[in-house]
Subunit: 279 residues, 2 copies
């Protein structure tokens, strides 16, 4: 999911290097560390490389998931799709999608049933992997643009909310739009829009600025995923489409099997953040 800070599963693996050294790991080094047993959130690891959300479904559901992503590109920006049964690809050269993410969530009939660190026991030759852009990429750009990112400053996960906005259906796949929220002072909202607009492949511009009630969010202090953040006086809540959305659709649409990444435990890809910058 699109989360950034350590969660309860943030325990350094045996033999892990100090966190600061991880910032300069190559993506291949990071994936090898996870494959070898490191379990940790991926924020701050292999800086400059795009991290990604993961959703894996059987081929029988793959057209619907692909179409759902096409019809809902802001929450589900696809960076890549692996063929049925394929466990590696250009975004994770030499890697293995079954072992290279630090922690996964396995859903059966839409219900989370396990959070393994290796999905090899669940693997089947008909599984299709969808690699979905993550807001890490534009948060780096916000920070480089001099904009404070509240949940990073407060050292918590970004707050995420189910909304009353429905995604566009695609066959068997349906679900609510999930959004992440970052507060900005009124004077910086335009900059936040301008900077994130340049990254359409990783959620792009905000979907909503201001009144949370319009999205059916009754209480910003109680997010559905992640952690609440303090919103200083004079700050507006700014909402972006969130990569949790496909997992919310899985929970609603109940395919027999689906596998996602665990919150904050992303796939670290070989693509540079800068590859997703336009113009």
């Amino acid at each position: 999911m699109d989360t950034e800070a350590p969660g309860p599963t943030a325990v350094p693996g045996p033999g892990a290097e100090p966190a600061s050294a991880r910032a300069t790991w190559t993506p291949a080094q990071a994936r090898a560390a996870f494959r070898d047993g490191l379990v940790a959130p991926t924020a701050g690891i292999a800086c400059g490389y795009a991290q990604a959300n993961l959703i894996i479904v059987p081929k029988a559901q793959a057209f619907d998931v692909l179409l759902f992503a096409q019809r809902n590109p802001k929450p589900c920006p696809l960076l890549g799709v692996l063929d049925a049964g394929q466990t590696t690809g250009a975004l994770l050269a030499g890697g293995d999608i079954r072992t290279d993410v630090p922690r996964y969530v396995v859903y059966q009939d839409g219900v989370p049933v396990a959070e393994p660190t290796d999905i090899t026991p669940y693997w089947r030759d008909d599984l299709v992997t969808f690699i979905v852009g993550c807001s890490f990429t534009f948060e780096t750009a916000l920070l480089e643009g001099g904009l404070p990112v509240a949940h990073i400053d407060q050292d918590v996960n970004v707050p995420m909310y189910r909304t009353s906005v429905r995604c566009q259906d695609a066959g068997t796949m349906s679900g609510p739009l999930v959004v992440s929220m970052r507060p900005f002072p009124a004077s910086q909202v335009a900059d936040a829009v301008r900077i994130t607009s340049r990254y359409p492949a990783v959620h792009g511009a905000p979907v909503h600025i201001g009144n949370p009630g319009d999205l059916g969010i009754s209480d910003l202090s109680r997010p559905d995923f992640g952690d609440p953040v303090d919103i200083p006086a004079g700050h507006l809540p700014v909402f972006w489409a969130c990569g949790v959305t496909p997992q919310a659709a899985v929970m609603e649409s109940r395919p027999p099997l689906a596998i996602g990444h665990a919150p904050g435990h992303m796939l670290i890809t070989d693509a540079r953040d800068s590859e997703y910058l336009v113009p």
Copy 2:
């Protein structure tokens, strides 16, 4: 296909209004005119609204086509996908995809077999329609930016070339990248890049600038589709990914049935060009 100027089939239909009046038609009015028998290229009609390439295949091939588009987003930028059997949608409200494009090309086993103005006789409940962005949108932006567009000035179709660059395969779908070419003076190439980069949903930035030989193009004066244009001294050829690419893939991949639009005879959608502008 991504072409702009009248081809040999450019004959005004009975009762057609003068061409100048067509510029201010709404998309719905334009589609109704085509449905009622007008056969004409769509350049200059319903200005300000996005025109689109079309590719229609049976559901059995739809996953491969959708994945081909996802993996090759520069030549195949999807604006929308209609469900199997569905003949209308948000991009053509109140319209009918079987009658609202002025002319179609029908492929059987990859071979063009007919160019009808109504595909109702070919329609099946398992046909899935893909609506693909078109360079008309960024050409308007180029013109508004003060850049001359050679093929418009010379009143011919844009020249298009099959290249030696292969698209990424997707299941049964494979084919060459097709590009369109527009020459610009050396002083304006950067502006052409800057302006078109802001339209990633309609082919975006150029894929190649300069030497055509690098793309396997031996003679710019002999395009594979469209018409040659004069290239003044001091101009560089600039190449963009082209919406003909999916039809080239159909010809190579030979699905039992596929239907595209005829060159220059696009679907006129209800989306405004400005909706595809980032940031």
